[in-house]
Every structure is written in C-alpha cells, then in structure tokens.
C-alpha cells in the first residue's frame, strides 16, 4: 500500500430497509434479516457473497444469528461499534477498512430494533447498572433525575442559548425543516404531516428548554448497507457511493452524553470536531464542497452545534445559518432531505446513511440537484463518527 488512506477505496453498493413504524409486529432479528437481505439484493448480490457483518454494540441481533437467517454462510470479518447512535457511520468505516485491506469482500452494516414497541431509549433510566465505568458515569446524574437523553442534551442546550442568544424558536426551525422534508417522503413516518413553528412552540415541555417537537420520534425498523471495494462497486447495478472519508472520534474528556466537565463549555461537540477534521482532511473537501448534509438529529439543538463544528458557519452563528429556511431543501445547505430522525424514522442514524446513498444515486424522494458529495454524521453528545460519500 503506497498511500495510508482509506479515501476512495470502498463504496456503499447496496441499501435496504424495512418499513418504519411504531410497532413492527416482528422480532428484531426478523427486521435485521429483512433489511440485510434487501441491501444485498439492492447491490445485485446474494447472501453467500457477503463475508462480513458490522453492527452497533447496542444491537441485540448477533452477527451469527443474522448470518444464519439470511444464509450468508461463513463470515471472515465481524465487528461492533460502541456508543449508541455514535456508531452509525463507524459501522461503515469498519466495513470499508475490512474491504480495503482484503479482510473481507462484501460487508453488510445493519441496525434493527423495535425501539418504539419494545425497549424505548427515551424513557427514564431507572438503574445505574452497577459499578462499571458506565455505571459510575450514570451515578453522577441519574440519582438527580437527570435520567433521559432529552435531559442530557437539554443541559447543554440551555448553556448554548445563554452563550449565543439562541432561542427555542431557533431549535424549532430545525424541527420545522425536518417535518417539511418528511412530508414529501413517502417512507417517512411523518409523511404529509408538516408542522409550523407555532406548533413547535406550543408542544408540551419534555425537559425545558426542549419541547416535545425538539425530540425525535421513536421507531421500529431496520436499515442495512452493503459495503465493498470501490472497484467492485463499479460493476454492480447502482452508481457507487464512494467513501471519500470515514472517521470516528471522541473528545478529550469524553462522556456518554455528559459533556459537562473539565474544559467543555457545553457549547461545542468536541467529538464531532475530531471527526470533522479527519473527514475534511482525508476527503480533501470542505464544507463548500457538499451539496447536502445528513446531520444526526435526535434532538434539535445539536444540529446547530454540528453546523458550527463541521465548519458550515462560525461559533454561535448556526441560528443565522438556518434562519429563513437555510437548511431546508431549497436552502443554502439542504440538511436531511429525507426528514431526518425527527421526520422519517429513528433508526440510530443508519437511515440517514441510506439517504446519503440515494442522494448520490439521484433516487431520493426529495432529491437535491447535482449531488457529488454528501456529509453524514452519527450520534451527538457521545463518541461519534462521520462519512463523506461521493459520486465519483
């Protein structure tokens, strides 16, 4: 290997998903198997062509169970990525490294759960779960009733509002944009159900300063992505979404959603900064070179943080950047044309990667014109990951 880079060596050649619902009526393993099979077929391959699997540490479907159900046969590569939704783009990064180094030929990345009808992440964490590193982290927060992801984000959001004069309406404009996009995406849960800023403001408090409509929905469903080498992808049916850059990152003093200590001032996402640096460096691109961005939107405030962290605007300026429809489909940077997790579905960020692939292919429900490069990010407030996907 002459050049130590992953850039351009691998591509996403197939995408697959189940329907997105509030109650799938099927086991999580069935959702995973269905999504994986759909991604394999979308790539023009068969299960026996797949020799690697990557998923989230949080996923309950083991690689061997998924391989058994789909008839993949033997696996030669499997790995898992930690830290909740921060894993999403990391699964593709692991798969890309595997195919680029010859450890595997075709790797499927998947995430499937009944997150609405089964275990809901949005409910209060009622136990610290023992004196493990994570249990001890929880122990500084849960006993005080700081027990939900919405609350953990809200703590940062309040400080951001204080520091930059951002308002609840600024957060609301993110929700309005996402629901506008979902309204014209037939796959979205909130298809044909846009909201107004007034509706956002009138929605009930979840954790002040976050309203209900600042929080993404909870969904049942599965999404899978097939990753292979860029060369092979060019021989498969769809225009490859070439991985120009893939990155994982943590901040200097990283916690799981509790970036409240040390040098953190609650107005930045240091892990995303680490990811951004690498994405722009490895792809040789910058914010001006992407036509659309898929930004992880479990809660609206962190979309503002990400616009700043990724260099689309300066610190504290995101509220101006997204004013007047700035992140809507016809704005200066269309963000989440599928409607994001606020509008389409919450599949832990994997549905956003699928959307990025569709934007490259030119097959999205809300297609942005002339897409060459798409930026994708994963879960925020946790160790995270990102991708730049390109059409050539």
């Amino acid at each position: 290997m002459t050049e130590r880079t992953l850039s351009g060596r691998a591509a996403v050649a197939g995408i697959g998903a189940t329907e997105f619902s509030k109650e799938s009526g099927r086991s999580e393993l069935q959702l995973a198997a269905e999504a994986c099979l759909a991604a394999i077929r979308d790539a023009g391959l068969t299960p026996s062509d797949v020799d690697g699997l990557v998923t989230f540490s949080a996923d309950v479907n083991t690689e061997i169970a998924v391989a058994r159900e789909t008839g993949m046969g033997e696996l030669r590569f499997f790995s898992r990525v930690e830290y909740g939704g921060g894993a999403a783009c990391g699964t593709v990064a692991h798969a890309a490294m595997a195919v680029a180094t010859g450890q595997a030929e075709a790797v499927v990345c998947y995430r499937a759960f009944n997150e609405r009808s089964g275990h809901r992440f949005g409910q209060a964490n009622a136990s610290t779960r023992g004196a493990t590193a994570q249990g001890l982290e929880f122990s500084w927060h849960l006993p005080y009733g700081l027990a939900t992801p919405a609350a953990w984000v809200a703590m940062s959001a309040r400080r951001y509002m204080h520091a930059y004069g951002a308002t609840s309406e600024d957060f609301g404009r993110v929700a309005v944009a996402m629901r506008r996009h979902a309204a014209t995406n037939p796959a979205a849960w909130f298809y044909e159900r846009p909201i107004s800023l007034a509706e956002h403001q009138e929605s009930r408090w979840i954790v002040d300063p976050l309203h209900l409509l600042d929080c993404c929905q909870e969904s049942d469903g599965g999404v899978a992505l097939l990753v292979t080498t860029a060369e092979r992808a060019r021989d498969l049916p769809h225009r490859p979404a070439v991985i120009s850059a893939a990155a994982q990152g943590t901040g200097r003093e990283q916690y799981m959603m509790f970036g409240y200590y040390g040098d953190d001032d609650l107005t930045t996402l240091p892990a995303m900064g680490v990811v951004a640096d690498r994405l722009w460096r490895d792809s040789g691109l910058g914010p001006q070179d992407v036509q659309t961005a898929i930004l992880y939107d479990h809660f609206t405030p962190f979309v503002l943080y990400q616009l700043e962290e990724l260099g689309f605007c300066g610190r504290g300026e995101a509220r101006h950047f997204l004013a007047d429809g700035g992140i809507e489909i016809d704005g200066r940077l269309p963000v989440n044309p599928h409607g994001g997790q606020l509008g389409e579905a919450y599949i832990h960020g994997m549905n956003g990667i699928a959307e990025a692939v569709r934007q490259i292919r030119g097959t999205a429900a809300n297609q942005v014109p002339d897409v060459t490069n798409v930026l994708v990010t994963a879960g925020t407030g946790v160790p995270t990951s990102g991708l730049v996907l390109s059409g050539s």
Binding site: A124, L136, S139, Y144, G145, D208, Y261
Partner: protein
C-alpha cells in the same frame, strides 16, 4: 378520630397515677454488675444502683408482663386510624434519690398527653406522652417521661426511590462524605489537580495518589434543565437539575431544591444542601444561596469540654446492652427481623442510650451525682456504626450530644447535684 382521641386522653389523664406491674426483682448486685459490664461503666457505686437503671427494674424480661402501659389505648386508636408508624422522641428521668441494694421498688404509670396532629418529617403524626414512677414505700425515688411520635407513614415518593448511585472503589470516598455531610472533591495527591467526577488516575500527572478537599459548598448554576416528562422514579416533576460550578472550580450535577423552577437562572448563586435517600445514600444537593435550609443541615463541628467517647457499635455491644437492660425486643438482637421491619440493622435501645449518657457525664464529672436526664432521640444507632459522645458543662448542667453516621442519635441535658 381526633375527637375520640381527645376524649380518651382526657379520660386517661383524669385517672392519674395507676399501679403498674411490680418490678420482678429487688435492687440487686447481679443485675447491676451485668448492666455495668455491658455499658462499660467503671464508677464505684457502693451500695447504690446507677440511676439510669431506673426503668430497668421494671422491665419484664423475655416474658411480657400482663399489665398495660398507660398509653396503650391511645396507641391502639392511632394504629386503627393509619398512624401506624412509631418513633420514640423523648425520654426524661428525674432522680429523687439513689436506690440501694435490697430495696424493693413499686411502680406506677400515668398518662400524660396526646398532641397533634402535627406535620413532621416522618409524616402527619401525634405526640403521645406518658409517665412511669418508682417508689420505695411512699417515697418517690425516680420518674420517667416517655414520648413517642405516632405517624402516618408518608408515601415518600410516588414511584419509588431515585436510581441509587453505583459506588466503586474510586468513588466511595465521595458517597461516604455525602453521608457525613461533606461534599468531597477529588484532589491529586501529587499535583493538586481538582477533579470531578473523580477517577483512579490523575489525567494531568498520572499519579494514582488521591486526596480530596471538602468543598465550601458555594457555587453558581452553570446550566440547568426543568424536567417535565417522562416520569422519573423518585422525582416529582417539574423539578430542576442543575450543573453547578463550585467556587473551587469543578462542576457537579445536583437538584436545586426549595425553589420554583421559574426562579432558577444561569449564574444564580446556590448553596450546598443534603438529601438523605436512605441509610446508605445521601445526595449532595443545592438551594438558592442565602435561604434557610428546609432540611436539617449537616452536623457542625463538634465542640466538647472532654475527649469524645467513641463507641464502636458491634453487634455484641448492641445485644449485650439490650439484654442487660432486660430489653428483649427483637429489633435489638435479631438482624433479619430488624431488616424485615425496615431498619438497616439491629440498633441500640433507649435504655442503653440513657446509660451511656450517664456513663460519659460521670466519667468526666466524678464528684457529681445525677438529678435527672432529659434526652431527645434522633437517628437510630445501628450495628456497624460508631456512636460518638461529646459534652459541655455549664454550672450544674451538662449537655451531651451523641452522633452516628446518620446524624444526631441523642441530645441530652443532664442535671447534676
């Protein structure tokens, strides 16, 4: 119920002194020796009995006596109306004269009063007071006041306790501190770097030598949220969770208590408070600076005219003193039963608390005799804890304070003569 209770109390009080079951034994050397050994009492009493033993002479032992206490009817009415909780709050002795070996005591009981309903920390309750007196012939030699709070146990929190912190080797110093009224912040034993949350290795210099400082307990709200939804065990919404920046630098999460959520703001000054969740867990908490504490403050520094008496409360100590005072109530010797009744462990009985206060006072005032003791009872003194007695004397009055990990176990005023 209140009218019924008031009428009953009036009837009982009008009865005045009534004969109580006769003390089974004359004042005798064996019981005194047994009692003194259990208490660690070293005074030479000659042919007198230690005055704190007054009630011991009337204790029935393992076989309950047939006679009823003066307050039994009142307690029954209260139990029937949901005031099922009971906690002893006061025990007061008056010693008219020492009793001597061989004397046979006669006992009487007298109803005192029922006062309430009062809102207390335990819940809505009535204070019930009654008396016991001891005579030799017609001469009264001692009297005891006993007061309990009968309360309606409050449903403390609508949905159980908040999640309890997991405690590990690297964090137990913090929770130990909180339980004893200190907010402890880890300090590197090498470079002095302060750090919260704490951990095993200093990120600045990699030392594993650890130390802590006790925070002064002042800070400002760096950020905060008001939780509304979903329901969280042990918390009633809307409630405030704040990230507090301490004067010392580090930040820490806590609730801001005793404040309307709309009054909280970034930059607001707050002061340390504590919220006791159970015997194991106390949470450092916050309230607006300059407002009186709604909850009892952590114990201030002890002051004492004499060296503190530190008594490790071993199971043997708790059980042997209970039996030496002829108190066979199972919560003083049966761990499983004590726990089943909601206690953390077996605990010291009141007759022993009285004996220990007497011992401490007389050890440091050997020339004095006791005229009486008034004791206010507080937190239980559980096995495994340490009871620390301190005291001060002014004229013929000695004030004794006994603390355990949970706070004050006893505050006593002792009259000398």
């Amino acid at each position: 119920m209140h009218e019924e209770l008031t009428a009953l109390a009036a009837r009982l009080a009008a009865l005045g002194e009534q004969p109580a079951p006769e003390p089974p034994d004359a004042v005798n050397e064996a019981m005194i020796r047994n009692w003194r050994q259990a208490m660690g009492d070293t005074r030479d009493w000659g042919d007198a009995a230690p005055p704190a033993m007054a009630q011991v002479w009337s204790m029935p032992g393992l076989v309950p006596s047939k006679g009823a206490s003066a307050a039994d009817d009142v307690l029954r009415v209260l139990n029937g109306d949901g005031f099922t909780g009971v906690v002893a709050t006061n025990c007061e002795h008056v010693y008219d004269r020492p009793v001597r070996l061989g004397e046979r005591l006669r006992a009487t009981a007298r109803f005192g009063s029922v006062v309430g309903p009062k809102r207390t920390a335990m819940g809505l309750g009535y204070f019930v007071t009654w008396y016991q007196s001891w005579y030799v012939g017609e001469e009264r030699v001692a009297e005891m006041l006993f007061r309990v709070l009968k309360f309606q146990p409050v449903k403390r929190r609508p949905k159980g306790k908040p999640p309890l912190p997991a405690v590990g080797l690297d964090t137990e110093f913090f929770w130990d501190g909180a339980r004893s009224g200190e907010l402890r912040i880890q300090r590197c034993g090498e470079c002095g770097e302060l750090r919260h949350p704490p951990g095993p290795m200093c990120p600045a210099c990699n030392s594993t030598k650890r130390d802590h400082l006790v925070a002064r307990g002042r800070g400002t709200v760096y950020s905060y949220v008001v939780h509304h939804h979903p329901p969280v065990p042990g918390r009633t919404p809307p409630y405030v969770v704040a990230l507090v920046e301490l004067e010392e630098g580090p930040r820490i999460i806590g609730n801001v208590l005793g404040v309307d959520p709309s009054e909280v703001s970034v930059g607001m000054a707050v002061e340390l408070d504590f919220e006791r969740i159970d015997d194991e867990v106390t949470l450092p908490q916050w309230r607006p600076a300059g407002r009186p504490a709604p909850a009892p403050a952590p114990p201030p520094e002890r002051v004492s005219d004499w060296p503190a008496l530190e008594l490790p409360l071993t199971p043997t100590f708790i059980i042997s003193t209970a039996l030496a005072t002829r108190d066979f109530t199972p919560v003083h010797h049966d761990v499983a039963l004590a726990r089943a009744q909601g206690s953390a462990d077996i605990f010291l009985n009141i007759l022993t608390t009285m004996g220990l206060v007497q011992r401490y006072v007389l050890e440091h005032n050997p020339e004095a005799d006791l005229a009486g003791m008034r004791v206010r009872l507080g937190a239980p003194a559980y096995a495994g804890d340490t009871l620390v007695l301190t005291g001060t004397r002014e004229g013929d009055t000695v004030t004794v304070r006994g603390t355990v990990a949970l706070g004050d176990h006893v505050n006593a005023t002792v009259a000398l003569r």
